[in-house]
């Protein structure tokens, strides 16, 4: 045999061995894993064979996903792949990345409901509270899906989001949209009109952290949230009280007000917003020292699942939470997924069941749900309803010393009439609390409109 043939054979042997070794490792890899913790999603499962699925091509598509999701040593390979990708550029003083991502209202997550069925890890099911909240969350997500699908058709323009990653911090980028902002104000005006004259209505819009970024160059990627909030406020009817959380936060902008790996504010950020609200609602501010401070370390938030770097993974967040000095109990209401029947369970304002999970923001109220009613032992007639997104979750514990009842409504999931809820319970104050990006999502506005 000539040298040439020998080398050809060697080439063949190396190639074929690699293909068969990897194929073999793959076949023998156990496929039991159902959840990817890092990605926060269920892994594709082996498709069930039906003739219908086979003929539509769905069977093989699902099989391909299943094959890829259970590839040999997948999670490590994903990590290696991330580091390979960083080779394509030059290292600069700052690690900066821009990431486009598609939110849930665009394709990709069509199997949301199915995915979520799987995301209840068994070991946690023992803890009833967590388990229920997770069921709740699943329900929540289903609803999101329906609302969002609706709006995605109406306007696909803002379904893409943008993140700026600067060293150890991941930030959402805000883009002002005049029509949406006006629309947001108008919806609140409409709610205002339907409520009795004596009901006070507040609006609190929380800015996101890129506004306070200590770097003028990258800050320009985002539009001014100061102007945006001002614009929304200027479109409110006269009898709506805007809460100036912006200035309160800006005053403390060098403190730890926002998570670096998550899109939410910290409890401290929420506290400063609360001080602004106290001013608007004539409440006596309770000093933070009156709260018992605890913390849960090593929090890698949702944004780090979208994009992470070694720097980010090495610098997780700390979730500090403050236990209110008053007694309260939270009753959570949700709708059964299949029957639509309204059900409830007991939650808590600070839910420590989440301190050891990777969803530490759920410590606040235990996540999102259609309706939560908090009753406190505070001796007052004041009752408030908060119509909100998840930013309110860290905020609401600070309201407990001031109100006897707090109605927490997530309009994306709640299915009943809001005005009736206010009237029937003699609620005297209604606050809309959302973060600035919510003004850009028509889904939120539409869901409020559906409830009045």
């Amino acid at each position: 045999m000539s040298n040439k043939d020998r080398l050809s054979l060697l080439n063949i042997i190396v190639f074929i061995s690699l293909i068969y070794i990897i194929a073999f490792l793959n076949i023998t890899t156990p496929k039991a894993k159902t959840v990817s913790e890092v990605e926060n999603r269920a892994l594709a499962q082996k498709p069930v064979f039906t003739m219908e699925k086979l003929l539509s091509g769905e069977y093989f598509r699902e099989y391909e996903d299943y094959f890829a999701d259970h590839f040999y040593d997948r999670e490590n390979l994903v990590q290696i792949s991330k580091s390979i990708t960083t080779l394509k550029g030059v290292k600069r003083e700052e690690e900066v990345f821009l990431v486009d991502f598609e939110g849930q209202n665009v394709g990709g997550n069509v199997n949301l409901e199915e995915n979520y069925n799987e995301v209840i890890p068994e070991d946690k099911a023992a803890d009833e509270e967590v388990a229920k909240a997770e069921i709740e969350e699943k329900d929540t997500i289903d609803n999101n899906q329906t609302t969002e699908n609706k709006t995605a058709d109406e306007d696909t323009g803002t379904t893409r989001g943008n993140l700026l990653i600067l060293n150890d911090t991941i930030m959402e980028i805000y883009k002002f949209n005049e029509d949406r902002a006006k629309n947001y104000a108008n919806v609140i005006n409409t709610v205002r009109d339907k409520l009795g004259e004596n009901v006070k209505v507040y609006s609190l819009l929380a800015p996101v952290q890129i506004e306070f970024l200590n770097n003028d160059k990258y800050k320009t990627l985002s539009d001014s949230q100061y102007d945006a909030i001002k614009y929304v406020n200027s479109n409110f009817a006269e009898n709506i009280i805007p809460v100036d959380a912006y200035s309160a936060i800006e005053k403390h902008k060098d403190e730890y007000l926002y998570f670096r790996t998550d899109h939410h504010w910290t409890a401290l950020g929420a506290y400063y917003a609360y001080t602004a609200f106290a001013k608007s609602a004539s409440l006596d501010v309770i000093p933070l020292d009156d709260y018992k401070k605890e913390e849960a370390a090593d929090f890698l938030g949702y944004l780090s699942a979208v994009y992470s770097t070694e720097t980010i993974n090495n610098n997780p967040d700390n979730v500090v939470y403050y236990i209110p000095p008053v007694e309260s109990n939270l009753q959570v209401f949700y709708y059964d997924n299949e029957t639509g029947e309204k059900k409830s369970y007991r939650g808590s304002v600070i839910n420590k069941a989440y301190t050891d999970t990777n969803r530490k923001y759920y410590i606040f109220l235990g996540g999102d749900f259609p309706l939560g009613i908090i009753k406190t032992n505070v001796n007052t007639d004041r009752k408030i309803m908060v119509i909100k997104d998840s930013y309110a979750n860290a905020f609401i514990p600070f309201l407990t010393p001031h109100y006897s009842e707090i109605y927490v409504v997530d309009p994306r999931h709640y299915r009943e009439n809001l005005i009736n809820l206010v009237n029937e319970n003699n609620i005297g104050e209604v606050m809309f609390l959302n973060y600035i990006l919510t003004t850009n999502f028509p889904g939120f506005i539409n869901s409020v409109l559906n409830l009045i």
Partner: protein, 463 residues
């Protein structure tokens, strides 16, 4: 299924190899390949396999008729019938909605659109089978008497989905008689690996960057951002397409088939004419042999012929106006080049010609990319400074520095520079050893990147 997928590399392909090489003679091997090819095709759209089979049966029969009635009018009739049938199939599946929506638009009618969808690879296999019946008629190849062999030619999974457009005459002998030697198989591996690298490492990565610039709101682009985006797309489309052809050629070699080259470093061309001799060669030669020359070629109605061919070339790429414009754009440029440039081309320094051609190609890709023509024109305005978009922005800066090394490497890889260096080094033993290591490294890193692409975080925090 595509070659650059985990399920192909580590399930379909290894099983296919086993069945193929335990089959003792060529007949069994053909049957194995046919079964695997049909399965490969059915993987995505099991329903459309019927369209493929139907087309194969019809063309097989007409080719036999052409043969039977050779020399008579009936033979010609059979040829016309076959070609019309093929074009109708293509028309119904690929162009029906285009025609209907244009008719609806012009005459204000409300004819319903079809929801059948496009059978994958139909543009490629239809052209292949047309070349077959025409070649049979022209007596360049004998009609295939065995149906399964014709079906094998048409459905051979190496080139079924994304080309190259293989002529029946190219592989007619190899269907019956092919030798697989270690040298050929090894060469096939080398080509396959290069193709895999082009597709997975380069095209997929550049595609991601390109889309951050091209898919967003283009009014927010900076001029440099627009350039970076379209350059990334220019790289992506070449590596994607030529990578796929490379993998097809490589797979062919492993199984004993020789397919012709489909790309020859198109971006080093100096004129449009040269570019199209280097880009998607099998398509260009198909139009030359089966449309341009039958129309009269250079001798009769030259301008008309050129424009018809280029309109069709554009239209072949997709059923929308932007592709037609893209095709006509090249047709017009070819006419202009022929009229003016050809006389002075030798006097112009090469560097100017390179710049000229690259600009032409990049502008072409703008038309190709933006299905919405007004958006494409707006993008061109941005590129050439006829808009109020800023010259430079932070997004450009960030993406530029995060991709600059990659951009340079990819640009170099689109020239024959590495190939020429390797040639100079001769095929020494250390070099061959290096190639083997290179293959292993590319295979492993492509696999890792493919696994990385399955990373699909679940985002539900939008509110």
């Amino acid at each position: 299924m595509v070659f650059s997928s985990l399920v192909f590399l580590y399930l379909f392909f290894p099983i296919n190899l086993i069945f193929y090489f335990i089959s003792k003679n060529n007949t069994y091997r053909n049957i194995v390949l046919l079964c695997f090819s049909l399965f490969f095709y059915a993987w995505g759209e099991p329903f459309f396999i019927l369209a493929l089979l139907f087309s194969a049966i019809v063309n097989y029969s007409f080719a036999l008729l052409i043969d039977k009635y050779r020399g008579t009018f009936k033979s010609k009739l059979a040829l016309y019938a076959a070609v019309i049938f093929d074009l109708l199939m293509l028309g119904i599946f690929k162009y029906y909605n285009f025609f209907v929506s244009n008719i609806n638009f012009i005459f204000n009618t409300k004819i319903g659109l079809s929801s059948i969808g496009l059978p994958i690879g139909i543009s490629f296999y239809t052209f292949q089978i047309i070349s077959y019946v025409v070649d049979v008629y022209k007596e360049e190849v004998p009609a295939q008497k065995k149906f399964y062999k014709l079906l094998l030619y048409m459905s051979l999974y190496h080139q079924l989905i994304a080309g190259p457009i293989v002529r029946y005459s190219d592989i007619a002998n190899e269907i019956d008689n092919r030798q697989i030697t270690p040298e050929r198989f090894s060469y096939g591996i080398n080509r396959f690996i290069i193709g895999l690298m082009k597709k997975v490492i380069i095209a997929n990565t550049t595609g991601k960057v390109a889309s951050t610039f091209l898919d967003g709101n283009i009014n927010e682009l900076s001029v440099l951002g627009a350039w970076l985006g379209i350059m990334m797309y220019t790289i992506q489309i070449y590596f994607d397409f030529s990578g796929y052809s490379c993998m097809a050629i490589g797979l062919g070699r492993m199984f004993g088939f020789t397919y012709k080259e489909n790309f020859n470093y198109p971006y080093i061309a100096k004129t449009v004419q040269e570019f199209w001799r280097r880009w998607h060669i099998s398509l260009g030669s198909f139009f030359r042999d089966y449309v341009y020359i039958p129309l009269g070629g250079n001798r009769k109605n030259y301008v008309r012929n050129v424009m018809i061919v280029w309109m069709l070339t554009g239209f072949w790429h997709g059923a929308s106006w932007n592709f037609i414009i893209w095709g006509l754009y090249y047709g017009i440029l070819l006419l202009i080049e022929r009229k003016f440039l050809s006389k002075i081309v030798d006097k112009i320094p090469a560097i100017f010609l390179h710049i000229y051609l690259k600009l032409i190609v990049i502008i072409g890709w703008v038309f190709f990319y933006f299905v919405d023509i007004t958006k494409g024109i707006q993008f061109l305005k941005i590129l050439f400074g006829f808009s109020n978009n800023p010259l430079y922005d932070i997004k450009f800066e960030i993406e530029f520095f995060n991709n600059v090394i990659f951009l340079i490497v990819a640009a170099l890889l689109s020239t024959p520079i590495f190939k020429n260096i390797l040639k100079k080094l001769n095929d020494t033993i250390p070099l061959k050893m290096a190639k083997i290591v290179f293959n292993a490294v590319v295979l492993l890193s492509s696999t890792i990147l493919l696994v990385g692409q399955t990373y699909n975080p679940f985002l539900y925090f939008r509110f």
